[in-house]
Amino acid sequence: MANLKELAARGDKFTGGHRACAGCGATIVARQALLAAGDKPVVATCATGCLEVVSTIYPYTAWDVPFIHSAFENSAATISGVEAAYRSLKRQGTVTEDIRFMAFGGDGGTYDIGLQALSGAMERGHNMLYICYDNQAYMNTGIQRSSATPKGSSTTTSPNGKKIPGKVQFRKNLTEIMAAHGIPYVAQSVVGNWSDFTKKVEKALAKGGPAFIAVLQPCRLGWGYPPELTAEMGRLAVETNFWPLYEVEDGKYKLNYTPKERKPIDEWMFQQERFRHLKRPEHQALIAQIQQDIDARWDHLNKKCSL
């Protein structure tokens, strides 16, 4: 696996000059993923969303690899087509390079509207890596709740109001849904741990066949924290067990990191605007419930990893 020096020497395939917010985690995901692909040519696609909008404002592009964007819910289906074309043309000898295929989508375009296309592509076994940059809401359209939005989070469609304190439901566990597809490689990673993420991308690409990585991607605008804290927000999500780092390789679960001492969830939540309303004493029970859920999910994951 490539070290930092080697990665840095490769040269960016996702370049500067894009229009992302200061402290944007999505662009870190794209840049590190393409770095991890190394010298292997990559064709990439992206769902409609922040990453696409900030990186491809015509006539400019931040992608120094062949790149296609078609719509919101279909980056998995679009790359399926590209990969099918590759298989066909490679078999016919008109394409000779060994090419890798990467699709990116936010949580909205992956957990929600894009779930069908993603599931279909995985079931069909296309040789592709799908990376979900999960910033836990529809950030591009102005911070609306998605099924990845955590309970209690205030968004513009699950606002903190007089009667309802933010999102009522717990978030969907997409990583487990993807693992249930029985594909060769599924993993969770986080912005703020370049080594974990790039290793997982390398592994997924080397593995061949369909692979999926969910990356927790702090969004300074939607979460409400100072831009310089993006990596810190990611790491803290791991230290609180909110976002465990693990992988499922050929069905075998493996925990990649266990915090020495699990930090309480409010340590992570209360640094963010979206949870600020929960600081009020009447919401203590809700915080306790959220903590309980995190602990239960962690225990459940640990059991799977010890099998």
Partner: protein, 391 residues
């Protein structure tokens, strides 16, 4: 040219054309009455008779998405669908055209829900008429076969680079068996030639971005360029049709005139109804009635000039629409033809007739009565009537 005579349904004919085009990728999802096309094609794939990668996607939305990815990757790409399937593709249909990708789609025309109905009308493809695709209607299985082959050439032409939809009438053509003349595989391959895309995603040494966001500064220009491509297609479709005729003895234009030049009364129609109308016209001509037909083969790009010219000496024209623009002034063919004629000094009296929705039969008696009504002045010009419906 030694043609091979076969008995084929419309679906079989389209599947055979697809086999002979031998595309690099087909992505499709089953839907009645188009299912057979990809079903038959799947067997060709399973038997190794084509070089195609067949992607059996999980929805029509993904079918068109995968076609977009495939065509952008430089692969010759085809699909087939109908009705609700095309409706589910709708978003991607626009994107395929906007990205200027030469995808060829067989669309078996079928009514749209609700109420659910599996039979023919043109509501599905008419719903996509403004998407930037070229729309070619087929009168029978023979034309479905010939059109599919020509479509690939038209789509890939450097001056066009637009997706093409070839339609047949659901069940009427798709499931009706006919005698058709087919070509040897090598002739089809020779006609369509080798595909050489200008740029594609698998050319990794020349990376480019396709599908970039266009804001107020570029979007309009890119949409305008599509209009130019559609205009170019008018010429290209005729050239390809003429070349097809030269090689295989069947000429194709944008429109077809049947006893039209000296006609006093005429109907304008698309698809299988034209075949029925031709028989009626033959009978009426024997009785001395000067009846004629204007068949619109290519609805997009709309052959305005040719239509205006073809109708300028006719007294009375009925435009038949197998779809309705609900709440509008008649179906899309009527509004378009009438609009085209508006500026013409010599224009016929014109009336619109919506017929055959959801597969409602249109028979020879109805068409004959329509001609006689036109002849006897039993119609209201510039009006819309519903033919064959219980009211």
């Amino acid at each position: 040219m030694q043609k091979i005579i076969l008995a084929k349904t419309g679906n079989e004919a389209m599947a055979l054309a697809m086999k002979q085009v031998n595309p690099d990728v087909v992505a499709a999802y089953p839907i009645t009455p188009a299912t057979e096309i990809v079903q038959i094609f799947s067997q060709y794939v399973a038997d190794g008779e084509v070089k195609t990668e067949f992607v059996a996607v999980e929805s029509e939305h993904s079918a068109m998405s995968a076609c977009i990815g495939s065509a952008a990757a430089g692969a010759r790409t085809m699909t087939g669908t109908s009705s609700q399937g095309l409706a589910l593709m709708y978003e991607m249909v626009y994107i395929a055209a906007g990205l200027r990708l030469p995808i060829v789609m067989a669309n078996v025309n079928r009514a749209l829900s609700a109420p659910i109905n599996i039979h023919c009308d043109h509501s599905d493809s008419m719903g996509c008429r403004d998407a930037g695709w070229i729309h070619i209607f087929s009168e029978n299985a023979q034309e479905a076969y010939d059109n599919m082959i020509q479509a690939m050439r038209i789509a890939e032409h450097r001056d066009v680079r637009l997706p093409v939809m070839v339609t047949t009438d659901g069940f009427i053509i798709s499931h009706g068996m006919e005698r058709i003349d087919t070509l040897p595989d090598a002739e089809v391959q020779g006609f369509i030639g080798k595909y050489d895309p200008m740029m594609h995603l698998l050319d990794v040494k020349k990376p480019f971005t396709i599908g970039a966001i266009n804001l107020t500064d570029y979007y309009f220009e890119h949409r305008r360029a599509m209009v130019d491509a559609q205009n170019n297609a008018l010429k290209v479709i005729k050239e390809v049709g003429a070349e097809f005729g030269q090689k295989f003895d069947t000429n194709y234009g944008l429109i077809e005139k049947y006893h039209l030049d000296d006609a006093e009364v005429a109907i304008v129609a698309l698809g299988s109804t034209c075949g029925t109308a031709k028989v009626v016209i033959d009978q009426l001509r024997e009785k001395g009635v000067k009846a004629g037909l204007l068949k619109i083969r290519v609805f997009r790009p709309f052959p305005t000039e040719e239509i205006v010219k073809a109708l300028e000496n006719i007294k009375t024209v009925a435009v038949l629409d197998r779809s309705d623009s609900v709440g509008g002034f008649g179906g899309p063919v009527f509004t378009e033809v009438r609009s085209a004629l508006y500026g013409s000094a010599k224009k016929p009296q014109i009336a619109g007739y919506v017929y055959g929705l959801g597969g409602r039969e249109i028979d020879m008696e109805q068409i004959e009565k329509l001609f006689m009504d036109l002849k006897d002045g039993k119609f209201k010009a510039d009006s819309v009537s519903y033919l064959g419906v219980r009211e």
